[in-house]
């Protein structure tokens, strides 16, 4: 079925079409939510909220962009707002871990490159991290990111470049891994 037909049927209140639309997009929405949230329960909550809002606001979708782009814009809004709410909680957890000596910044204390990479990405400013995750990990184009985040394409490119520069800096002591 053509996507526009599907949208029209959803607008007309067709429950089967709603489920079909959900099935067509849920994987990418959930994956993006998970990549940004790093937590299954949060990712599910954000995905759920994304679709609830999308169904409620589908009448306002004018078709200027692809439905997936519109959905990802809702997803990023929901996720980033939601993460702001839980940010303080995560900070407390990190403080507790640091106090317990669980996570050290030095290489001797944390030899696992994967863990260090994760820490470095987590430590990026929100905007940089979002663009990095969307572009380098999830494969969104700068145009899609621009629409989703409501920024210019150039801004997305600049943020990605700065994100990579920060990661290079953070992971400098692992230089042998990629220079060789």
């Amino acid at each position: 079925m053509d996507e526009q037909d599907l949208i029209n049927r959803v607008r007309a209140g067709d429950g089967i079409a709603e489920r079909a639309l959900y099935d067509a997009h849920v994987d990418r929405v959930y994956r993006l939510a998970y990549r940004l949230a790093g937590d299954d329960a949060l990712a599910q909550d954000f995905t759920q909220e994304t679709f609830i809002r999308a169904f409620a606001k589908l009448d306002t979708f004018r078709g200027d962009s692809a439905l997936s782009t519109w959905l990802h814009a809702i997803t990023t809004t929901v996720v980033l707002n939601g993460l702001r709410k839980v940010k303080r909680f995560h900070k407390r957890e990190a403080d507790l871990e640091a106090a317990d000596g669980v996570s050290g910044g030095r290489r001797e204390a944390e030899p696992d490159l994967k863990a260090r990479l994760r820490q470095a990405i987590d430590a990026l400013p929100h905007g940089y991290r979002t663009v990095f995750v969307m572009h380098d990990i999830e494969g969104f184009t700068h145009e899609e990111i621009g629409v989703a985040l409501g920024v210019e394409t150039g801004t997305s490119k600049a943020q990605l470049s700065r994100a990579r520069a920060k990661l290079r800096e953070s992971l400098a002591d692992f230089a042998g891994e990629w220079v060789s």
């Binding site: 959900y22 959930y30 990549r35 599910q44 759920q48 709410k85 490159l113 990990i137 990661l167 990629w178």
Partner: protein, 215 residues
């Protein structure tokens, strides 16, 4: 300092290495989420229309405040006949304060009761689903208060934000499966003295009487 060639190598390496970053550990739980979406949409649809239209809700709240403010102003003017013309205006402002203070006090009392019960049940080894619903209700009130003049006081705002966090976490607990997370929540509450702060924010006596006595 890295050369361009190294930067390109790094970017390629980074893209590969980062694939594992926050990778979902299992396939999308489609049916599980769909069931929750349907239930949540049904729940929201069943809510009164007022709850769905924030502008109308705030408009009605403002109208109610106005009526209450006028009432309190008249009451104050009646009881302070020897005061000057500025009394009514001052009473209107005080009236708004009374309304928000009453609402905040009721909310703080309910939250204190709820969190005390939650902690007690947890200690007894119970993580009950009824807590989720109550936490969600209180969370809604918390957010309304955060957007209201009640949160103008920095200490009250800090407390409300703290409670918002705790309630949001409790509302996401799954019955019987989240003992560890529930323990973390209560540890966090204890560490940040949430209940003592909450208790100290609740006035000892009936708020309207105390405030009226002060004006």
């Amino acid at each position: 300092m890295m050369h361009d060639n190294d930067e390109t190598k790094f970017d390629q390496w980074l893209q590969d290495a980062a694939k594992t970053y926050n990778a979902p550990p299992r396939p999308t739980p489609r049916d599980e989420m769909w069931a929750r979406i349907e239930a949540e949409r049904a729940r929201r649809a069943a809510r009164p229309v007022l709850a769905l239209r924030p502008w109308l809700r705030w408009g009605l709240a403002a109208a109610a405040l106005l009526v209450l403010g006028i009432g309190i102003g008249r009451w104050t003017a009646h009881h302070q006949t020897d005061a000057g013309g500025g009394t009514v205006a001052a009473a209107d402002t005080a009236g708004n304060g009374v309304v928000y203070q009453v609402a905040a006090t009721q909310y703080l009392s309910r939250t204190e009761t709820f969190l005390t019960g939650f902690r007690a049940d947890l200690r007894a080894g119970r993580v009950d689903t009824r807590f989720n619903g109550q936490a969600r209700d209180l969370l809604t009130t918390t957010r309304l208060l955060l957007d209201s003049p009640a949160a103008d006081d920095p200490r009250m705002r800090a407390l409300l934000e703290e409670l918002e966090l705790v309630l949001a976490q409790i509302s996401q607990l799954e019955a019987g499966r989240d003992k560890r997370n529930a323990d973390l929540i209560t540890q966090d509450m204890d560490q940040h003295s949430v209940l003592p702060k909450l208790r100290s924010a609740i006035p000892a006596g009936p708020v309207p009487l105390r405030t009226q006595g002060a004006t």
